[in-house]
Symmetry: C2
Subunit: 318 residues, 2 copies
C-alpha cells in the first residue's frame, strides 16, 4: 500500500452515520457525522448515503483519484463476500440489496461492505487496543451483542459471513428469552437491552409497578450502578458472570491473545468487569489464560470507522 | 511435495500406540499397533516409542532417506510450536519433556508433535469426512471430549497451543462437576466417562445400589441403548441436547462448513444424533446452518494416524 493512499470509510448505524476520508496509515482526514435517514426506506437511505459520500470527498479537498476505495461498516446480516445486505432488523426495506454493486457503479472504485461488529473488531485491532496481536476477539456490547474474530491477522468471516455471532451463543440453556427467538443467549443478558429489561422486571416486582411506568433507559442503569443502588448490583454481577463464561469459552476454544470488550455496556466498569474476570479465572485453562489479555476497547466511535477503512485497505492490498 | 515422499506417523494413546509409514498421498504403507508401554514412566515409554519407530522403518523396507519426517499425535496438553509435552493426565512422568527435540536428535529428520484431538481433526479433514471443506471443526467424543479447528485450510492452534478445547467450554453454568475442576463443561456430559457416570448414578438410585456394585462400562451403555432401555434413554437424549448446544454455538461463532463428530460415543447413533440436530435447528442461525454439514467421522482409528502424517507433511511443505 502506498503511503499517500486514502480511502473513504463509513460507519452506518440505525441512528447515526459517520463518514470519513482515512489515510492508509489510519489518520482520519475528514469526518462528517449525521443522523441516519432510514425511516423512508431503502431508496431514501441510499440517496442519503451517496450524497454524504460526495459531500465528504468534496470537504476533504482531495482529488477524487487519490481516494482508492470505499469501506463500509453496516448493520448485518450481510454477505461480506458479495456485499449484499439481508434485512437488518433496524433498517426497513433492506432485503437482498446488493449495496456493494450499487456503490461500485456509482463511484467507479472498489467497495467493501463489512458487518458493523466485524468493522469494530478490525478497527480496534488495527489502531486500538489490539495493536500488535495476531489473534483478537472483540465482543461488542451495545443495544445487542455482536463480535468479530481476527485470527492470524485476518478477519474470520466463516462459510456464509456469519462468524462472530457470539451474542447468540447459548450461555444458559434454559435461560431468559432472546430477541432472536432462542433462550439464554449472551445477548439476552449482556446487551444494554438485556440489562435494562431485567432491571425493569426487578423494579416492577419490588416497587409494585410504580417505576415500571416510566420507561427505563440504559442511562438510568448507569446512574443506578454509579450510585451503588442495591436493586441493580445483583443484575450487573450476574451479567459479569455470564459475560465471563462467554469469555472463558472463547479462551478455551480459540485461545486468542486478546479479547476486547467494546460498546456502551463497558461503561458499567468494575462492577461488571470484576465478576467477569473472576469467572474467567475459574473457567479458562491456565495455559489459555497465560497469553490472554482482556481489555476494554479504546477507540470509541472511531473503532467502526477505522475498521471500515481497514477492510477496504486489506482488499486493495490483496 | 514430491509424489514419492513418505513420512512416519504415530498415534500415541494411553492404551494403544499405532505407528505407520504414510505416503504424501495419504496411503498407509506399513502399520504396527502395540499396547503403549507407559506404566514404567517417561524413559521406558521413550525407549518403547523409539524402538517402535525403528521397527516400522525396517518393516517398511524403504530406504531411510525416503522417509522425510515424523509426525506424532500425542495426548495433550503440549506445545505444538516447540514440541514440548506438559503432564498428560494418563502418562506419568511426562512433565516438560521436549519430545520433538529428543526425536529429532534420535532420527536426524524433522518432527512435528500435535495434540491427539488436533491430529484426529486434521486426518478427517484431509482424508475423511471433511475432504474439500475449508472450515472444519472436529469434536472428539471419547473418554474425554476434545476438538480441533481447521480454518481456511489450516489447523488453528491459538496463542499457546490450547485452541480447540471445546470439551471444556461451559454448556450448563451450574451443571455437574467436570474432571477439570469446573462445572457444566461439555465433557462432563458428552464424554464416555460423563455418560457412564450419569448412568451409574441413575441406576444406583433406582436399583438401590445393586447395579452400582459391578463397574459399568461404556460397552454396557451401548448395549442398554441398543436395547432401548428406558432407564438410559433420557440420559442419551440429554447428552444429545447438550452436544447440540455446543454445535450450535460453534455454528454461530465460527460458521464452519462442517462439524464432524469423532470417537466411540458417536456409536450411540440416532438416539444421540437426532436430539443434537434438533437443538442445532433451534439454536443456530439459519444463515449459519445453510452452509453447514454435521457428519460422523469415518476414518476410525486411522484418523489420528493420517492427521499425524498430515501435520509433518504440512511442516515439510511450508
Amino acid at each position: 500500500m502506498e503511503h499517500n493512499t486514502y480511502v473513504m470509510a463509513a460507519d452506518v448505524g440505525g441512528t447515526n452515520t459517520r463518514i470519513a476520508v482515512v489515510s492508509s496509515q489510519g489518520e482520519i482526514h475528514t469526518l462528517i457525522k449525521r443522523d441516519t435517514h432510514c425511516k423512508g426506506g431503502k431508496d431514501e437511505m441510499l440517496s442519503f448515503l451517496i450524497s454524504l459520500f460526495k459531500e465528504t470527498i468534496k470537504k476533504s479537498q482531495l482529488p477524487r483519484e487519490k481516494i482508492s476505495g470505499l469501506g463500509i461498516g453496516f448493520p448485518g446480516p450481510l454477505d461480506a463476500q458479495t456485499g449484499v445486505i439481508f434485512n437488518p432488523p433496524n433498517l426497513p426495506g433492506w432485503n437482498n440489496i446488493p449495496l456493494r454493486n450499487i456503490l461500485e457503479n456509482e463511484f467507479g472504485s472498489p467497495v467493501v461492505i463489512e458487518n458493523d461488529a466485524n468493522a469494530a473488531a478490525l478497527g480496534e485491532w488495527w489502531k486500538g487496543v489490539g495493536v500488535g496481536t495476531k489473534s483478537f476477539v472483540c465482543i461488542t456490547l451495545g443495544t445487542g451483542v455482536g463480535g468479530g474474530i481476527i485470527l492470524g491477522g485476518k478477519l474470520w468471516h466463516g462459510a456464509s459471513s456469519m462468524a462472530g455471532e457470539i451474542g447468540h451463543t447459548t450461555i444458559v440453556p434454559n435461560g431468559i428469552p432472546c430477541t432472536c427467538g432462542n433462550r439464554g443467549c449472551l445477548e439476552a443478558y449482556a446487551s444494554a437491552r438485556g440489562i435494562t429489561d431485567r432491571t425493569r422486571r426487578i423494579l416492577s416486582e419490588t416497587e409494585k409497578n410504580r417505576e415500571a411506568e416510566t420507561p427505563l433507559t440504559f442511562k438510568d442503569i448507569s446512574h443506578m450502578v454509579s450510585q451503588g443502588d442495591d436493586r441493580i448490583l445483583p443484575i450487573i454481577q450476574e451479567t459479569g458472570v455470564i459475560l465471563g463464561i462467554a469469555v472463558a469459552n472463547l479462551a478455551n476454544l480459540l485461545n486468542p491473545e486478546m479479547i476486547a470488550l467494546f460498546g456502551g455496556v463497558t461503561s458499567l466498569g468494575e462492577r461488571l468487569l470484576s465478576p467477569m474476570k473472576e469467572e474467567v479465572e475459574k473457567r479458562a485453562f491456565q495455559k489459555a489464560r497465560e497469553p490472554l489479555r482482556i481489555e476494554v476497547a479504546k477507540l470509541g466511535d472511531n473503532g467502526g470507522l477505522l475498521g471500515a477503512a481497514k477492510s477496504i485497505l486489506v482488499h486493495l492490498d490483496a
